[in-house]
Amino acid sequence: MTSTGTIFQREINSYFLSPIAYVVIAVFMVFSGYFFSVMLGLTQETTLRYSLAYTQFILSILTPVITMRLFAEENKTGTIEPLMTAPITDFEVVFGKFLSAWALYNIMIAPTAFYIIFLAWVGHPDYGAIVASYVGLILMGALFVAIGLVVSSVTKNQIIAAVIGIVALLILLVLGLASSGNEGWFYSCLRYIGTYDHWETFTKGLIDTRDVVYYVSFTALLIFIVVRIVESRRWR
């Protein structure tokens, strides 16, 4: 696992050596701050619940921008070749890359802690709900990053990786939203697959094992798929 750490370190450094990290963080702060102030003004409630609901859309767009380069860039420049001929396993590479993107995601959402301070200053927020929201946010991030990683591993083109990743995440989001209010096994299936319902429980202040299992297992499955995709060059 030491190689995972090495990969992680390189990827994180590389994020902050290129403009990607700064651009993504700045864009996120602009939009999340806008939603926070607007929702606070509209509802007059000291909660993050409503602003975070909108934040999901921004995260769906920004996370694939974080993950787009992970494999697509290496596939394009050919650096995948020295990387994969080093004495490390495919899983170590994939997991290191996953962790680095997930870390950047968490760094990106970290400045929103300021909103909590602000809420505490103007009123009495429900800290339990806020903690649960952040647990949800971080777990959701893992899933988003894993989806972005899958897309990045199948292409050489970063733009394509980003666009397909965004579309995939938005579909996943809309899947839950569009089927809410409908009955029947079909719609409840869609609701289960979609991220929205799982995410909503967290914002209500509930850490439900079902939702945790959903995020963790979905993420693990996708990481497994990426390992297989990376491996697949061996049998192509």
Binding site: S3, Q9, L17, G78, T79, E81, P87, I88, R233
Partner: protein, 314 residues
């Protein structure tokens, strides 16, 4: 050190490598020579465990490339074609990263990296960003990376491609030095390189081995008789007749007819006719201004072998 048996790699319906077998002995520099698309890179990628073979086996330092892939990779320093590097990293930072990946113990890491930097003469750029380096430096950074874990075997894919003549010389010199301590398999389509560096050559064309020997042996093997270039002052007609009469001479071509004549003489295989030519010209009152035997270069051998192959297959 490397043993390849009946190795084949198929892409869809085309065999990129078609059941080749060869061995690389310890301490040897072996050149894989072939036109573009002959299967050199594919062979190397199989040996470095980047992709598996369709059939056949390959062992590197006693480990099977398919079953013991990680152990094989520990023994190999691989320089891929065009030397892909991370452009945003600094040279030293990159080498540290690679050393960590290759499990160089942290205590030895600094010393090992310093050694490689020294050997590859990249000390003056060690703190520069790789993206700003010239091709020659990038090549040497790539070489430093292949050396960092002190592997027994180096596999270099076209190590001098895209360099200017001075850089080519430096890189070749470096490879020559490395050959003293490592077993090297290198691929190229530049012939003088092979003649200069390699003890043994494999010529590969369309996925098949078409010749395997030392560069000079290959040249003699294919020498279909030597050519002699001659410049003589004297009676042209007389000289020509005299030359044609020498035993072992197959053909005489006379051009530049005048007081000074130029001749191209083709002799039979394995016969040295130079002394006979001298005496017969002197007998005919000619004066030899120049006599030169042209050796068959590897270039001609290569051309002959690879085009022969084409004639057979088409």
């Amino acid at each position: 050190m490397i043993k390849v048996e009946q190795l084949a790699k198929r892409y869809a319906d085309v065999y990129a490598v078609d059941r080749i077998s060869f061995e690389v002995n310890q301490g040897e520099i072996l050149g894989l020579l072939g036109p573009n698309g002959a299967g050199k890179t594919t062979t190397m990628r199989i040996l470095t465990c980047y992709m598996p073979a369709t059939s056949g086996t390959a062992t590197v330092a006693g480990y099977d490339v398919f079953r013991d892939s990680i152990s094989v990779r520990r023994q190999i320093g691989y320089l891929p074609e065009n030397v892909p590097l991370y452009p945003e990293m600094r040279v030293r930072e990159y080498l540290t990263f690679r050393a960590k990946l290759k499990k160089v113990p942290s205590r030895e890491r600094k010393v090992k990296i310093d050694e490689c930097i020294e050997k590859c003469r990249i000390k003056d750029v060690q703190h520069q960003i790789i993206g700003t380096l010239s091709k020659g430096y990038r090549q040497r950074v790539g070489l430093a990376d292949t050396l960092v874990h002190d592997p027994k075997i180096l596999i270099l894919d076209e190590p001098t491609i895209g360099l200017d003549p001075n850089q080519i010389r430096q890189v070749r010199q470096l490879i020559k030095e490395l050959g003293e301590r490592h077993t090297i398999l290198l691929s190229t389509h530049i012939l003088p390189e092979v003649e200069m560096l390699c003890g043994r050559v494999i010529i590969i064309n369309k996925g098949k081995i078409v010749a395997m020997d030392s560069p000079s042996n290959l040249a003699t093997q294919l020498r279909s008789g030597s050519n002699i270039v001659l410049e003589v002052r004297g009676n042209g007609e007389k000289v020509k007749n005299a030359l044609s009469g020498i035993k072992g001479v197959k053909k005489v071509v006379w051009h530049d007819k005048g007081e000074i004549g130029n001749y191209m003489i083709e002799a039979e295989k394995g016969v040295d006719v130079r002394e006979d030519i001298f005496s017969s010209i002197v007998k005919n009152n000619g004066v030899i201004r120049e006599m030169k035997q042209t050796a068959v270069t590897l270039e001609e051998v290569f051309h002959q072998i690879t085009t022969q192959e084409q004639e057979v297959t088409t």
